[in-house]
Subunit: 426 residues, 2 copies
Amino acid sequence: MTAINETHDPKLRSWVATANVSGCDFPIQNLPFGRFRPKGSKEPFRIGVAIGDRVLDLEAAHLIDHADMNLLMAATAEERAALRKSLSESLREGSPKEKEWQLALYAQADVEMTVPCRIGDYTDFYTSVHHATTVGKQFRPDNPLLPNYKWVPIGYHGRASSIGVSGQQFKRPKGQTKPAGSDPAAAPVFGPSLRLDYELELGWFVGRANALGEPVLMADAESHLFGVTLFNDWSARDLQGWEYQPLGPFLSKNFASTVSPWMVTLEALAPFRGSFERADGDPQPLPYLDGPANRERGSFHITLEAWLQTKKMRDAGAAPVRLSQTDMRDAAYWTPAQLVAHHTVNGCNLQPGDLLGSGTLSGPAPDQAGSLLELTVGGKQPISLPNGEVRAFLEDGDTLTLRGYCERNGAARIGLGEVSGTVVGS
Amino acid sequence: MTAINETHDPKLRSWVATANVSGCDFPIQNLPFGRFRPKGSKEPFRIGVAIGDRVLDLEAAHLIDHADMNLLMAATAEERAALRKSLSESLREGSPKEKEWQLALYAQADVEMTVPCRIGDYTDFYTSVHHATTVGKQFRPDNPLLPNYKWVPIGYHGRASSIGVSGQQFKRPKGQTKPAGSDPAAAPVFGPSLRLDYELELGWFVGRANALGEPVLMADAESHLFGVTLFNDWSARDLQGWEYQPLGPFLSKNFASTVSPWMVTLEALAPFRGSFERADGDPQPLPYLDGPANRERGSFHITLEAWLQTKKMRDAGAAPVRLSQTDMRDAAYWTPAQLVAHHTVNGCNLQPGDLLGSGTLSGPAPDQAGSLLELTVGGKQPISLPNGEVRAFLEDGDTLTLRGYCERNGAARIGLGEVSGTVVGS
């Protein structure tokens, strides 16, 4: 379990002046990891840490001697804590490293980011009971929340090859659909998806591996997680409705998924943890999904927002509009530690760089929904935008941006940055 | 499309004498690819081609200058044909290469094999309509074959990290189950799977990549496939029954999957192709899944067998017993080309080394079933073994072996080798 220590002290200030600006996502208390290279170059990507509006090149700062993020992620808890301490101390105001490390800094505006590590396997979970219930009502009106939901952290495997970094543009997917109410014996329709959606998720990255056949116990589960990103699991709802029985979503999901470039570590999230308990009437987790640390501080308080900017808005210079705001703590029925313990209980091996999606983190209120499917009630109640446009689902040229941050009294605010993606014509 | 040429001539003989023995899996007409190293060494794996009971080291034979199978798999059709021609000519009786290449040969008995390439993403399909119907009856008695089956090549993503090579031993997986007939409000049971099964599949490996957003058309689909292996998709049926709704199988599958070490190329399979047509009453494939070449020769005639050897049999020196025999051509409702075209129609990018599982290739007759779930009717009709043991599902110490081969008049028999795996205690 991550402890609060001096690296979280809200009074800490950095010699990188932009890190001290109120509202900055990347103050010295954050120190998230990503991969970057100078814009326009074809150099290999290097490992960097965001500080204010800069990136520190860890190899140029002589903190590591390689550029393999997955190797760095496999570090032990002690090695990770030591690296964080070095970074925090050397980036503080008055540090003797300032002069040397100035030379290892790049402006974020001048670099290109990529997916933060090599993603071997990607698993998507389904941790919001609110999302599961609301969506379940649309797919199975008579049977919205299935009997296993409150016992099993439902998850399924996703496609790693089509995961891109913020800024990803992708073509509207084509495929088979079977419009509601059509003749059961009629052929399905083939064409571009007409119900293209986003999903507001967090992506938890695996750090330390476990060997095949060796489950990770709850007490150790978080030590196998490296950090968290924002994650948009784009979904074609019409493809999904027709294809998903009996083996789950496939082409409705694997055309593109977009991840934010900065992995915020579990150490940085330490001040934003909270207790985790089951509501009255809900069953307690089975013993392999339970533990005192998980009950005391298993949940995370992370505010999440979805913002839409249409092509018309962009062309007119209009700012994006917020579609919803939610919080992981209100949304997630299962904690990240429980996801790791469940994923490995059968002996499945997780590897550094594997990605665990949270599933759509819809909160309990309708305006806390993490997808258009929920916000527009399956497209039946389109959203009116300030410029007069309406949206039931995403249209060509729409840019969807997720943002996330952690705030509480007595702690420095930290941000997850943002993840943007744009759908272009089919 | 692969053409029959002189490399398939059944009269060809190799200067590797064991390749000329009747019934050999690896005659000179086959030439499958795999990765090997001397047994007991810790050297990097090298690329080899099986010939008789030997392995030819391609780097030592100066045919390639690297050991990256995925790079080799990304070759163009022309490069692949040229490599096959070189191998065939130089391994023929009377070739001037014999003396030089003798030094590049290893005995298969003296080498260790590994998974034949780096598997990025693994997708499992569900191509046998017989399997889908029989299993569907057990999971959904009122609704065995879902309305989408005859239109959509149903597939889902699987776990790449837990795929091992023939010889894999794995622990019996633990997890949640909900025994049939138990109180709906009662907690699920936690423990080792009691309904552990195998699945007889073929694994098609992707060669050439397609870019994200660029579907592969039917006419090009096979040029994106490199070769085929035997594939056992071990399944825990009790975990599966409880977890699989609504997002598909997860822990019931990802504890282990086992692949055979030799990839038999599409070029080698050329003589064993057949026409592909829909039975009366079945809908024709949608245009994106249809094409003249697929109709003429889209299917493959590959005989497949499952063999069981229990610990008691092994200890007594008793040979494995055959559980079933089937043929891909009778089992598969979709061709490999259709799997590629479907997988990419939404823009999903396939990469060299990706694995496409066929799904359990059960034929139409009960004794052509590719899993115990089918053979024992969900465990209700256990199989009696010659030594008096019975099996409803796999027990600890059981070794399950899949074998595959292609035979027809006028062509040299070629084999896929075998894939074995053993379940050990939990």
